[in-house]
Point group: C2
Chain length 359, copies 2
């Protein structure tokens, strides 16, 4: 097991990465000195596989868990679903010292985290991410939230978990498309922060695609370390944290304008990162061979790197870009790469160049 | 004008109390260095009276305000209304540096504050409370939130405003019942924290009932000072802040079990405070003459001090008490008075005594 500390003063916590962690959930929660009542929020797919293990582990440790299952999929990330969860917590008399366990992928983590952030003005919560995407990205750093009709994650709160348990065993049964989607965030960490990680991914991609445990453990822990470092320096995204959004401005717009669910998040940001790499070449002189290495790694991982759009869809995509949370005074700002392992944020890019980068 | 500072480190802000402040809203916001776009959230009643002045003042100072009006009344404090507000903010392209002005009473402040806390994971907001209750209580201290079917304020966030402007002129047109309801919170500050304030209220009650400006200014500013002091010591209600809930455990249960709206908040906590004073006599030996002074002041102010309940309503009321946010391990804890001006919190009270105190 690897332990990655997230340093945020009084809100500090640990990320634990390894096999066989889910059966230890109860013991781990007991060490946090929380109230006895808790709710395990999960979705209909993940629940079938792992809810029993989670609930049994919590019960064995003396907790009184109640299961709150939501429909699988992005559609559960909405305020009416938040309210249904709140209602269930109130029904089961959860109190301020009670806690929530988010057991699932990014949707469950974002939703359950926001439910925890807002129920009784905030109760503790523990993340048990069961997808690669959630383990390396969404479960770490305290971003929680839901979608509006007009955009993804437009509603939410910065709210830190008390603990993140990344059980690598839960990745074994992940559908290949979803697993590969998670790799898009993994590759991102190499591009934005860590050339040696990028090089290792080029080298060990086949092991990673086979979900080999030691490689996976090292890589997941390293991604969490990078995210923890960035978040520790800028918890509420006033500056540095923006680097984590490399590829996301275009990626989010793709997800939004094509209707949530058509592209998985990792697929959308794979296209977005390759577009951002091309913009980086134009604006910051990122060398052509590095653009090539980036594009090639995404392709080798089995991720899409381009999108074909008719005029109407293209218009919709550019409109969606203007609704990004990072837009300031109507101006879209990009995270762009100077070289692999080093990016800068807050880059203005002429609209014509963006048009060219999204072919 | 009186200025009351609220000291919360990086989240510190000022409360300004005086006449003629609403027309200065734009100038005051300009001093905060916020983005140009903003939304004035108000309700159908308050909007008619004051929205024009607020919007004109903001426009004159160079801001681009949009008006978001919600139906007047407690029913607007719900998540579906929050979402409608979010949708309007997104439609008008409010960004992270944009801000919200909450123009209205407690409902508008709680709702708009929660909207600000959760839109784009938090944008700045300014409170312009237009009721006495909101000026002395709900606009100060950062509690924001909405109701669930199963209870009041069960959903929310601790989120501080950047500024609170208490324009005493807005109190002039307040219906008498609502104004008097606000006095219940004013009297509370005397009971929990400040015997001289309580004595002054006994002395100057008639001036206060006439809404005499200098008395009102002194009293509102003193209430805000007390609240600011308490909140400064315990922002997220882990201890001391609980004293502000004197009379509220029973008060909230009255509001909840009788259907929101039948009793105004101040009326419910007036009954709740007199009941708490009687409990204080039994449990902590609060002298009978002080119980009498407390009861008499509420009566003189024109507030109800008792409630008649049939068996079914009584059962409902006690069930509602168990859902209070301050309940821990199923135990109701009370704030009780040792003497006027001094209370203790976390007091266990035998159920029989509670039954007797709510006649």
């Amino acid at each position: 097991m690897r332990i990655v500390p997230v340093s945020l003063g009084r809100r500090s916590y640990e990320i634990k990465v390894g096999g066989g962690l889910l059966p230890r959930l109860g013991v781990e929660c007991a060490a946090l000195k929380l109230g006895r009542r808790c709710a395990v929020v999960t979705d209909s797919n993940v629940g079938k596989q792992f809810a029993k293990s989670a609930v049994e582990s919590l019960s064995a440790a003396g907790f009184q868990p109640v299961l709150v299952a939501v429909p699988a999929g992005e559609k559960s990330k909405c305020l009416s679903r938040v309210e249904k969860c709140h209602d269930q917590l109130a029904k089961h008399r959860l109190e301020r010292k009670s806690f929530i366990v988010a057991l699932g992928g990014g949707v469950v983590g974002d939703l359950a985290g926001f439910v925890a952030a807002t129920y009784l003005r905030g109760i503790p919560f523990v993340q048990v991410p069961t997808s690669l995407l959630a383990q390396v990205d969404s479960s770490v750093g305290g971003k929680t939230g839901v979608n509006l009709k007009s955009g993804k994650n437009l509603v939410g709160a910065f709210y830190q978990p008390r603990l993140v348990l990344c059980d690598l065993d839960t990745l074994k049964t992940l559908p290949r498309r979803e697993y590969v989607s998670g790799l898009a965030e993994v590759i991102k960490y190499g591009v934005i922060y860590d050339e040696p990680l990028f090089a290792r991914l080029e080298r060990d991609l086949s092991k990673l695609l086979k979900r080999q445990e030691t490689t996976l453990r090292d890589v997941v822990a390293r991604c969490c370390e990078i995210k923890a470092e960035v978040v520790g320096l800028d918890e509420t995204e006033s500056g540095l944290r923006a680097v984590l959004n490399f590829g996301h401005t275009i990626g989010h717009a793709i997800e939004n304008s094509s209707g949530y669910g058509k592209y998985l998040h990792g697929e959308a940001i794979s296209i977005g990162q390759v577009a951002a790499a091309k913009l980086s070449q134009q604006v910051l002189g990122l060398p052509a061979d590095e653009v090539g290495r980036i594009e090639k790694l995404f392709i080798r991982a089995g991720l899409p790197v381009s999108i074909k759009l008719d005029a109407a869809r293209r218009k919709k995509l550019f409109a969606a870009m203007l609704l990004d949370k990072k837009v300031s005074a109507g101006e879209i700002k990009f995270v762009l790469a100077q070289k692999i392992g080093q990016v800068v944020w807050g880059q203005k890019v002429p609209t014509e160049l963006i048009q060219l980068a999204v072919p």
